[in-house]
């Protein structure tokens, strides 16, 4: 593959990509490699402060975020994340520190204790947006080795990619993933619930409600003829994938919709093996899908 | 009729002003019959004690060149003020601080460090710097104390008239001397030996398009000898500087550096030049403007080469 340019970024994987969502990490790295996006994992990164933490201990969550940002600032590169929760928390800290001098002072004081300093210059970006805006259509199309033959995909964004800031796309009805899927030869289906709740952490506390929410997503995908759902968030991915059986049991349905990270779909089009993309680790089988859609199965 | 008593003094300056007087040549000899020189350390043998011994207001006119940079300069300024009826700040240094006042971009400490410790040619392992007092077996020796901030003559004593220029050009010196001999004195505070209009008024270079799209330093270009230097991107202080010199620098294809000082209605020569130059910068977006602004390397040296001590801010922060 001849690479015309190399784009350098710092990379913040976040906690879930080291554990439950390894496949996301794997496929993201593989795709970036192919696209000339050089991801240098942030040295000594820590928890981003997301999930329940920021709701309960807001200041400390910001401090956790700020530490990551301070480390990233030394690298003088944009910071790429793949988990929308990390994206939101890091971006929130960035915004709030810029707007609130008191918070900035408190955090700066704390950071000083570990000889760190944060000036507010780090730009936090989601990989999806980086691929679309920095790489672009032509470079992506040039790397396609395996036609997806109009694979019908429901583009699922989840709640946090565009909210609350709306910096990447429209808050309520984004289309950036739809665009990217088109570029790699897939066919995004009408999916009006694209930013609706996946149940999130309700799965632990109020499973009935959460399963209902997952069902709404699956139902809408099926109604619109989607053969799989593309995700960009580790938590969405897990709820849709791991709880599909529970949904079927609970509601007497028979959904069997493969759930793929958007990076896995790009990877497939680029001709990577399923192993490289971590696809064999999924719970809802997608093999049939590939047989139907890919010219070369690896 | 008694001949008017005249004194010359040389404070912190290069001596060019003394040369400017000598440049009068044969006319100086003619002058000898009309005036009585009572004090001129650079050319004749006078002692300070001679001066101290004079009664107050004994001298008719004192031409004082050089800035006030040390305690001796100030002492002489006060002494001559007391002894003179008319005190004239002669030359850019006495009038505005001149080149010595560029020392105001540094502190005394920094100057000592640079001069006595840091220059590559300095060999001073013990790090000795001048002391104003030193005990010897023979007693205490003193030398003048260097000031942290260079001042103009007018900032330490009351000055009657000023003659700008580095140095004042010959024809103007003649005119000034003529003025005093005539006895028709201009109002106190007047600037003598210079025009009330800027150099642009007497400069022959052609002004066509008042836009500056790039800035260059003199060593970076060979300017078109017919066109206004400012329009060619060379910062020429001409618009903000009194004429009278005959635009001799521009005749030599060199920009004016401002030695004749600000115009009558102007408070701060550098600020005015800065404002005029910025106003005609040919740029509309912030980035280009910033680039052009940054193109003025050493703004103090550019806008205040001769006038720092007389400027509003006088010196840098320390």
């Amino acid at each position: 593959m001849n690479l015309q340019t190399t784009m350098n970024f710092s990379y913040y994987p976040g906690c879930s990509l080291e554990g439950m969502n390894k496949a996301y990490d794997k496929s993201a790295r593989a795709v970036c490699d192919a696209l000339g996006i050089n991801l240098a994992e942030l040295n000594d990164w820590n928890c981003c402060g997301a999930s329940a933490y920021i709701s309960i201990r807001e200041l400390r969550a910001h401090l956790l975020s700020a530490r990551n940002l301070a480390i990233a600032e030394k690298e003088k590169k944009d910071l790429v994340v793949v988990c929308p929760s990390c994206l939101t928390t890091l971006t929130k800290t960035n915004h709030y520190m810029a707007e609130n001098p008191k918070l900035r002072q408190t955090i700066s004081k704390a950071l000083k204790e570990t000889e760190l300093q944060y000036w507010g210059s780090v730009k936090v970006r989601h990989l999806l947006e980086v691929i679309v805006n920095e790489v672009g259509q032509n470079e992506i199309k040039a790397r396609i080795k395996n036609s997806l033959k109009d694979l019908k995909v429901a583009p699922y964004y989840g709640c946090q990619l565009t909210r609350p800031f709306g910096e990447i796309d429209d808050k309520e009805f984004p289309t950036i993933l739809d665009t990217l899927l088109t570029w790699v030869g897939a066919k995004p289906v009408n999916f009006p619930v694209k930013t609706k709740c996946c149940g999130g952490m309700l799965m632990m506390t109020n499973e009935d409600v959460a399963l209902g929410l997952v069902r709404n997503l699956l139902e809408c995908a099926r109604e619109n003829g989607a053969e799989c759902i593309a995700t960009i968030c580790p938590l969405c991915h897990m709820n849709l994938e791991a709880y599909q059986d529970n949904v079927n049991k609970h509601f007497g349905t028979d959904y069997k919709i493969p759930i793929l990270y958007f990076t896995q779909i790009i990877g497939l089009a680029f001709g990577f093996s399923r192993k490289t993309l971590g696809i064999e680790e999924e719970l809802t089988p997608s093999k049939a899908l590939f047989e139907k859609h890919l010219e070369v199965i690896r | 009729m008694t001949k008017p008593k005249i004194a010359f003094n040389w404070a912190s300056s290069c001596g060019g002003c003394e040369i400017a007087i000598l440049e009068l040549g044969t006319k100086l000899v003619e002058l000898k019959d009309k005036i009585d020189i009572v004090f001129w350390p650079a050319a004749m043998d006078f002692k300070y004690s001679d001066l101290e011994a004079m009664p107050d207001k004994n001298i008719d006119v004192t031409f004082f060149n050089g800035a006030i940079q040390n305690s001796e300069n100030e002492h002489m300024a006060q002494l001559l003020r007391a002894k003179s009826k008319i005190l004239v700040a002669f030359g850019a240094c006495a009038y505005m601080g001149g080149i010595p006042a560029l020392a105001n971009t540094k502190s005394k400490q920094q100057i000592f460090n640079s001069s006595y410790k840091e220059t590559p040619t300095t060999d001073n392992p013990q790090g000795i710097v001048p002391q104003s007092k030193f005990q010897t077996p023979e007693g205490e020796l003193t030398i003048p104390e260097l000031y942290n901030t260079v001042k103009t003559l007018g900032q330490v004593v009351d000055v009657d008239y000023s003659v700008p220029g580095c140095p004042p050009v010959g024809p103007q010196v003649e005119k000034v001397v003529g003025t005093f001999l005539s006895g028709e004195l201009p109002p106190k505070g007047a600037v003598l030996g210079a025009s009330d209009k800027s150099l642009c008024h007497e400069c022959k270079l052609e002004k066509t398009d008042r836009k500056v799209a790039k800035l260059v330093r003199t060593y970076e270009t060979i300017p078109d000898p017919k066109k206004c230097l400012l329009e060619q991107g060379i910062v020429c202080m001409g618009p903000a500087t009194r004429g009278g010199c005959g635009a001799i620098c521009m005749d030599a294809n060199n920009p004016c550096k401002g030695c004749y000082g600000p115009l009558p209605n102007v408070v701060d020569q550098g600020a005015k030049m800065l404002s005029a130059l910025a106003s005609i910068l040919d740029a509309d977006d912030e980035e280009t403007i910033q680039k052009l602004a940054d193109g003025v390397v050493d703004p103090i040296g550019t806008f205040y080469r001769y006038g720092l001590a007389k400027s509003l801010l006088r010196r840098t922060k320390q």
């Binding site: 709404n216 | 009330d196 030049m273």
Partner: protein
């Protein structure tokens, strides 16, 4: 001569007095050089307050006066008049603003008092150097420019023209009438919009004092109050207005139909068209973008059929320069682009329409001849009306668009009347503040409309149960019941808000007027000068200043007309003498200044080799003054000495 300065420190009731110790400020002022009297007073702008100043001028022989009170924007003219009536040149007066920018912005009386003292010191020091100035008077050209031919502009034009003054009315569109010409009925009276608007349009068209320039734009506006020159571009209509009788033959014969802008794209028009049948003027225009002759070089059917030979494909646009003395800007508004609110699905879900589209649907001469129909041609059985689309929303426009609540009620009434369907109104607050509005709301409450108080979260076609299948589901939290409701309906009408016109920025530039934070044109004072602008002689009226309903727009149109007529009747106006002057003895001819002047007021006299200023062209920005490296240019009442004195006093 040393000056004798009088200083008056105003308490302005408690407005200043609460956070500034006015007594001690006056005491402090008494100690300043040349101050011979300093008093504090409750309301200096009151008659006795002004009388006190006049007395002091007469009795103490004051040569300078400083009043420390409110902003000069408020009472500078007042006190200038005061000192003038006591025989002092008004420019020997200086105002110190210790209210807007001092007492009102702090709670700290100590700091507030300190600041007030410094501000007073600045004014006192400066006033020493103030110079008497003569105010120049110039005649006012009685011709008036009105920009915008909506109901506001129409009202202004008729008022002024009826008084015998000449009006140039400029309208961008092929016809005057504005948004009102597209409405069916008007709230709260439900009278037909066309019935009340059309006669006025006709009057404008026929008025001997109104020069109507439609299909035209103002592209330049120069000069000063009483003496402006408007540059107007008349776009080519390709139809000779003199010859055309408006018979409509051309429109009938034109073979090409395109979506009509007037009908929001719901209906068609021809390539040669009048936006609507009652258009004024009745002369059609040829749409060059679509016309077969212009795009393909063939056709000319209209030319063939025109009985008067009015079609002129060779017509060129014309630039006119018109001298006027005053101008009224009544450029109106744009409706909010509903597509921006993605969650309401406008543009994506076919049966989500805007209120303006509804106006056309329900209009008897609209595309459906007044029938309310879904995209499939059926009549809706249930309809939702969503308020505040794009309004009262930090994501779009924060302000309330003022008219939507009432027109939504009207919509509900009309849609219910025509379809007998079930109508739901989703509102945040019901704002029924005008005359007869609350009563109208009451009436609707009794008309079987379901009001749901809650901001709609989304409109979706994703059904969650069989009853929702094939419907649009409106999801909202009913804040009165405290539950989330999902209401399935057939038709959703979005009550879109009003926003500044896209070209408001350009108009503001052309006329040198400001815009408020929301983007509408900024009035001189929100209460006391609602149709004036900071630029003398230029007035604003109607929705270009902020959302307004028809009665308010008409009222403003009339108010602007009254302001203009008052100016014209004064016959001459005074010009601020704060212009630049060049001292020809000091000018060195460096040529820095001439090109800096945006008004070409500075020229260069090659003979004398000096710059020369034409006073009538100078507007007093002072750019040349700051630039002049010789210090040869001064600005009257803002001289270097005055400003340097003020700076020094407030800095030390």
């Amino acid at each position: 001569m040393t000056e004798k300065i009088g200083v008056y420190v105003c308490h302005c009731g408690t407005n200043i007095g609460r956070t500034v110790d006015c007594k001690s400020v006056a005491e402090y002022a008494r100690g300043l050089p040349n101050v011979v009297v300093a008093r504090d007073y409750q309301y200096t702008c009151s008659d006795p307050g002004q009388e006190m100043i006049k007395n002091d001028i007469r009795e103490l022989g004051l040569t300078r006066v400083v009043v420390a009170s409110c902003s000069p924007l408020m009472h500078e003219p007042t006190f200038r008049r005061t000192v003038a009536s006591a025989g002092l040149n008004p420019f020997l007066f200086q105002m110190a603003n210790i209210r807007e920018q001092c007492s009102w912005i702090t709670e700290d009386r100590g700091l507030g008092t300190e600041r007030a003292k410094e501000i007073v010191a600045g004014a006192v020091t400066r006033v020493n150097f103030n110079e008497p100035l003569e105010v120049k008077k110039v005649p006012v050209n009685p011709d008036v420019l009105i920009v915008g031919g909506g109901i506001t502009g129409i009202e202004s034009a008729l008022q002024i023209a009826d008084s015998g003054k000449k009006v140039w009315l400029v309208e961008k569109e092929p016809s005057i009438g504005g948004f009102m010409s597209r409405f069916d009925k008007t709230f709260p009276t439900l009278d037909c919009a066309a019935c009340i608007l059309t006669p006025k349009m006709v009057s404008v068209g026929q008025h001997q004092n109104i020069e109507l320039l439609t299909y035209s734009d103002v592209i330049g506006f120069e000069g000063y109050v009483g003496n402006f020159t408007a540059k107007i571009r008349r776009r080519a209509r390709y139809v000779d207005e003199e010859k055309c009788t408006g018979c409509g033959q051309c429109e009938q014969k034109c073979p090409l139909s395109v979506p009509s802008e007037f009908e929001c794209g719901l209906g068609k028009r021809k390539a040669i068209y009048r936006p609507f049948p009652q258009a004024v003027p009745g002369t059609p225009v040829i749409d060059k973008e679509h016309c077969l002759y212009f795009t393909k070089g063939v056709c000319k059917v209209c030319q063939k059929f025109c009985p008067r030979g009015a079609i002129d494909f060779e017509q060129k646009e014309k630039i006119m320069e018109i001298p006027v003395g005053t101008a009224i800007i009544a450029t109106g508004f744009d409706v909010f682009d509903a597509e921006r609110v993605k969650e309401y699905g406008y543009g994506r879900l076919p049966n989500v329409i805007t209120s303006l589209e509804f106006e056309r649907l329900t209009h008897a001469s609209g595309p459906t001849a007044g029938k309310i129909l879904l995209k499939n041609g059926k009549q809706p059985e249930s309809i939702a009306i969503i308020h505040c689309v794009g309004s009262r929303d930090v994501n779009y426009n924060e302000y309330c668009s003022r008219v939507c609540c009432m027109y939504s009620l009207k919509t509900a009434h009309l849609v219910h009347e025509k379809t007998e369907g079930k109508v739901y109104e989703f509102y945040i607050d019901m704002r029924a503040f005008g005359k007869g509005y609350e009563e109208f709301y009451k009436r609707l409450l009794e008309e079987d409309v379901t009001f749901i108080r809650g901001r709609v979260a989304e409109v979706t076609d994703v059904a969650q149960n069989p009853s929702e299948k094939g419907k649009l589901i409106v999801v909202a939290e009913d804040t009165l019941l405290g539950i989330v409701r999902r209401i399935p309906v057939d038709l959703v009408i979005l009550s879109v808000g009003l926003q500044p016109r896209k070209d408001a920025v350009d108009v503001a530039h052309i006329f040198s007027i400001s815009r408020s934070k929301d983007g509408f044109f900024l009035e001189k004072h929100p209460k006391l000068a609602p149709v004036s602008t900071a630029a003398d002689g230029i007035f604003i009226a109607g929705s270009c200043q902020g959302p307004k309903d028809i009665p308010d727009s008409v009222a403003q149109g009339g108010a602007a007309a009254a302001n203009v007529l008052s100016l014209i009747d004064r016959k001459e106006v005074e010009l601020e003498p704060t212009i630049a002057i060049i001292d020809e003895n000091a000018c060195s001819g460096c040529k820095i200044c001439p090109e800096l002047c945006p008004y070409h007021a500075i020229s260069f006299d090659e003979g004398k080799s000096i710059a020369v200023l034409t006073a009538a062209l100078c507007k007093g920005c002072g750019v040349c003054v700051a630039a002049c490296p010789s210090g040869a240019i001064e600005q009257q009442n803002f001289t270097n000495r005055q400003l340097l004195a003020e700076v020094e006093a407030v800095s030390s």
